[in-house]
C-alpha cells in the first residue's frame, strides 16, 4: 500500500468551557488514501466538525488540538505554521460546509468569491481566474455559468449555492476535500444530485474526500471507508460493506436499528432505540463512553477498552465481537 495522503494518529481536541475542559474529541486515528472517500458518521455533537476543522487548522484560538501525528502528504500539520497552513488551505485541501445559505459572503458576487480562491494561491490574472470559475461552475452543473458570476449569493437557491461552494472548493484542484454535512440543509432530491456530483468529481479528479454526515443512507451510498463517531471517539471504522453488513460496535448496531430499513423493518412496527443520552464530556473520561446506553455494559467497560478487529474493520469494545452474535439482525 502506498503512503496515505492523510494520516491521523491520536487526535485530541480540548475546549475550555465554564465548568472545566470539554474533551470534545479523543484519540482519533484514521488514514486516507488518494481517491478514497472516508465518511465520518455520528450523531450531533459527536465531534465530527471539530475533527474536520482541526485538519484544516481552523479551530478557534481557545481550542487545544493535540495529535501524535497528523500528516498530509508528508507535511506534519501539527507543526505547520500559520503561513504554511494558509498556503495549504484552499489549495491542496479544501472544505465544503454544511450551510450553503450562510457560507457565502453576501457582500460579494459569486464570481469574486470564486476567483478569490484561485487568486490567493496561484499567480494568475483576474480574467484567468474568472475563466476557471466559469469552467468549474459548468462542471458542477450550473447552466449559463458566465452570467452567474455577477450574481450575489442571495439570488441563488440553496442547491445552486451548494454547487457554488463545491466549485469554490475545487478552484485550485485540491488533493483532499472535506465536506461537512454538505447536503443536510437541502431537499432530498437536491441532496441526491449534489452527492452524485461530488462523488463523480472525486473520482474524476482523483481526490480524496472526507464526507461528514449523520445520515447513514448517505454513508452507505458514498463512502469507501466509514468511521463511526460517538461522543468524541471513533467507535468503529472499516469499509462501508463491513460496517453495514457486520456492524460490530453496539452503538453502530443501535444506530442501524433506529432507522426504518425498507424491506427489513416491518411497516409500523416499533423501531430500535438507543436509550439514554450522550454523557457530558467535561472532566476526566475513562472507559467506554457508550457504556451508559449499552445493553451489554459490564464492569469492564469502565477500564481500558481494546481495539478489536483488523485494519480494514476495527472497533473498540470489551466484548470480543461487540456481542454481535446475540442480536443477529433478522434477515
Amino acid at each position: 500500500m502506498s503512503e496515505p495522503l492523510l494520516c491521523v494518529r491520536n487526535l485530541n481536541i480540548d475546549i475550555p468551557v465554564g465548568g472545566g475542559t470539554l474533551h470534545a474529541v479523543r484519540g482519533i486515528d484514521f488514514e486516507l488514501q488518494r481517491g478514497e472517500v472516508l465518511s465520518i458518521v455520528g450523531e450531533s455533537g459527536s465531534g465530527k466538525s471539530l475533527t474536520s476543522l482541526a485538519l484544516m487548522g481552523l479551530l478557534g484560538k481557545r481550542i487545544d488540538r493535540r495529535a501524535d501525528r497528523m500528516d498530509f502528504d508528508g507535511i506534519d500539520l501539527t507543526r505547520a505554521g500559520k503561513r504554511q497552513m494558509r498556503a495549504l488551505r484552499g489549495d491542496r485541501m479544501s472544505m465544503i460546509f454544511q450551510e450553503p445559505m450562510t457560507s457565502l459572503n453576501p457582500a460579494y458576487t459569486i464570481g469574486d468569491q470564486l476567483a478569490e480562491a484561485l487568486l490567493l494561491h496561484r499567480n494568475v490574472s483576474r480574467q484567468q481566474a474568472r475563466d476557471r470559475a466559469v469552467e468549474l461552475l459548468e462542471k458542477v452543473g450550473i447552466t449559463a455559468a458566465a452570467s452567474r458570476l455577477g450574481q450575489y449569493p442571495h439570488q441563488l437557491s440553496g442547491g445552486l449555492r451548494q454547487r457554488v461552494m463545491i466549485a469554490m472548493a475545487l478552484m485550485c484542484g485540491p488533493e483532499l476535500i472535506i465536506a461537512d454535512e454538505p447536503t443536510t440543509a437541502l431537499d432530498v432530491t437536491i441532496q441526491a444530485q449534489i452527492l452524485r456530483l461530488l462523488v463523480d468529481l472525486v473520482r474524476e479528479m482523483d481526490m480524496a474526500m472526507i464526507l461528514i454526515t449523520h445520515d447513514l443512507g448517505v454513508v452507505a451510498r458514498v463512502a469507501d471507508k466509514v468511521a463511526v463517531m460517538y461522543a468524541g471517539e471513533l467507535v468503529e471504522t472499516g469499509s462501508a460493506g463491513a460496517i453495514f453488513n457486520a456492524p460490530s460496535h453496539p452503538y453502530t448496531r443501535g444506530l442501524l436499528r433506529c432507522i426504518p430499513l425498507p424491506g427489513r423493518t416491518a411497516r409500523g412496527a416499533p423501531l430500535g432505540t438507543i436509550p439514554g443520552i450522550v454523557p457530558s464530556l467535561v472532566g476526566e473520561i475513562g472507559g467506554c463512553v457508550f457504556r451508559t446506553r449499552c445493553d451489554h455494559a459490564v464492569a469492564a467497560c469502565h477500564g481500558a477498552i481494546p481495539h478489536r478487529g483488523e485494519a480494514d474493520h476495527m472497533f473498540r469494545c470489551v466484548h470480543p465481537h461487540g456481542h454481535r452474535e446475540d442480536e443477529e439482525t433478522p434477515a
Binding site: T273, P275, G276, I277, T292, R293
Partner: protein, 298 residues
C-alpha cells in the same frame, strides 16, 4: 416502553432558569456594581430627610461657597456650601431623589406607551405595524432636546412638566425594541401552539409573549431611565428644566458653573455623582441584558 424507564434517559440535565440567572448575575461584575450603586442611591434618596445633615433649602448668604472638607472646609458642611450658602451635601442627597424620580417615572410613562405600541406592532403586524413604525420615525425625527426645551418653555419648568415631557418623548426605544422582540417571539412555535390550543389574543400576549420579552423591557427601562436622568440634567443645565430651588444635579452644575474656574468642585461634585448614577444604571442595564438575554448582546 420498557427502554423509557432507563434512568439515564430521564436525566434532567441543566440547572433551572432561576439558578442559571442567579449564577450569571453574581458572575457579572458590572451588574453587581451597577445594582449596588443604584441601590445605595435609592436608599439615600428615600432616607434623604433622615440622612441629610441640613435643610437643602436653608440659605445663609454669609456662608456662601464654603469649600468641602477635603479642600480645607469644616465637617459642618462636609461638601461645602453653594452660592447661596446651602449645604451642598444635603442638596446632593435631595438631588438623588429628583434624579431617580424623574428617571423612574419618565421611564415608566414612556415604557407603557412604547411597550403598548411596540407589542401591538410586532404582534398584529400589517397596518398596525405600519402606523407604529411611522410614528416611531416621526418621533425619532423630532429633536428631543429642542422639543423638550420648547415645551418646558411653554408650560414652565417644574418637576411634573419635565417628567411628563420626558415621559412622552422617550418611548421610541421601547417601541423599537419591544416591536423587534415581539416579532421574534411571535414567530416561535410555542405561540403557534398556544393559538392552536385556542388561547385568546390577550392571553397569548400576556402569558406567552410578555414573559419572553420582559427581560428586554427591563433593559430598556434602565437605559431609558439613565437617558431621562441625563436629559433632565441637560435641560436643567440649560435653565429650562427643573426650577430652583429644587436641588437637581443638573441645576447644581449649572449654578456652580459660574465659579467653575475658581471653585471647580462646585461643578465637579454634582457632575460626578450624576456620572456615577448614570454609569451605574447603564451598567445595570448592560448587565441585565448580558444576564437575561445573552444572545441579544450588542
Amino acid at each position: 416502553m420498557s427502554d423509557l424507564s432507563d434512568p439515564l434517559l430521564q436525566e434532567i440535565t441543566g440547572p433551572t432558569p432561576g439558578q442559571l440567572l442567579r449564577k450569571r448575575v453574581f458572575g457579572h461584575q458590572g451588574l453587581i456594581f451597577g445594582l449596588a450603586v443604584v441601590a445605595i442611591l435609592a436608599v439615600v434618596a428615600i432616607l434623604a430627610p433622615v440622612i441629610a445633615p441640613h435643610d437643602p433649602y436653608a440659605q445663609s448668604l454669609v456662608a456662601r461657597m464654603k469649600p468641602p472638607v477635603f479642600l480645607g472646609g469644616t465637617w459642618e458642611n462636609p461638601l461645602g456650601t453653594d452660592h447661596l450658602g446651602r449645604d451642598y451635601l444635603s442638596r446632593l442627597i435631595y438631588g438623588a431623589r429628583v434624579s431617580l424620580m424623574i428617571g423612574g417615572i419618565a421611564a415608566l410613562i414612556s415604557g407603557v406607551i412604547g411597550t403598548a405600541m411596540g407589542v401591538a406592532a410586532g404582534y398584529f403586524g400589517g397596518k398596525v405595524d405600519a402606523v407604529v413604525t411611522f410614528l416611531i420615525n416621526v418621533r425619532l425625527a423630532m429633536p428631543v432636546v429642542l422639543v423638550a426645551l420648547a415645551v418646558v418653555a411653554i408650560l414652565g419648568g417644574s418637576l411634573t412638566v419635565v417628567i411628563a415631557v420626558l415621559g412622552l418623548l422617550l418611548w421610541d426605544r421601547f417601541a423599537v425594541v419591544m416591536r423587534a422582540s415581539t416579532l421574534q417571539v411571535r414567530g416561535r412555535e410555542y405561540v403557534a401552539a398556544a393559538q392552536a390550543i385556542g388561547a385568546s389574543t390577550p392571553r397569548i400576549l400576556l402569558s406567552e409573549i410578555m414573559p419572553n420579552i420582559v427581560n428586554n423591557l427591563i433593559v430598556v427601562v434602565t437605559l431609558e431611565m439613565a437617558h431621562a436622568i441625563l436629559l433632565e440634567a441637560a435641560l436643567s443645565f440649560l435653565g429650562l428644566g427643573v426650577q430652583p430651588p429644587t436641588p437637581s444635579w443638573g441645576l447644581m452644575v449649572s449654578e456652580g458653573k459660574n465659579m467653575m474656574l475658581f471653585e471647580p468642585w462646585l461643578v465637579l461634585i454634582p457632575g460626578a455623582v450624576l456620572f456615577v448614577l448614570v454609569l451605574a444604571i447603564n451598567l445595570m442595564g448592560d448587565g441585565l441584558r448580558d444576564v437575561t438575554a445573552p444572545e441579544n448582546r450588542s
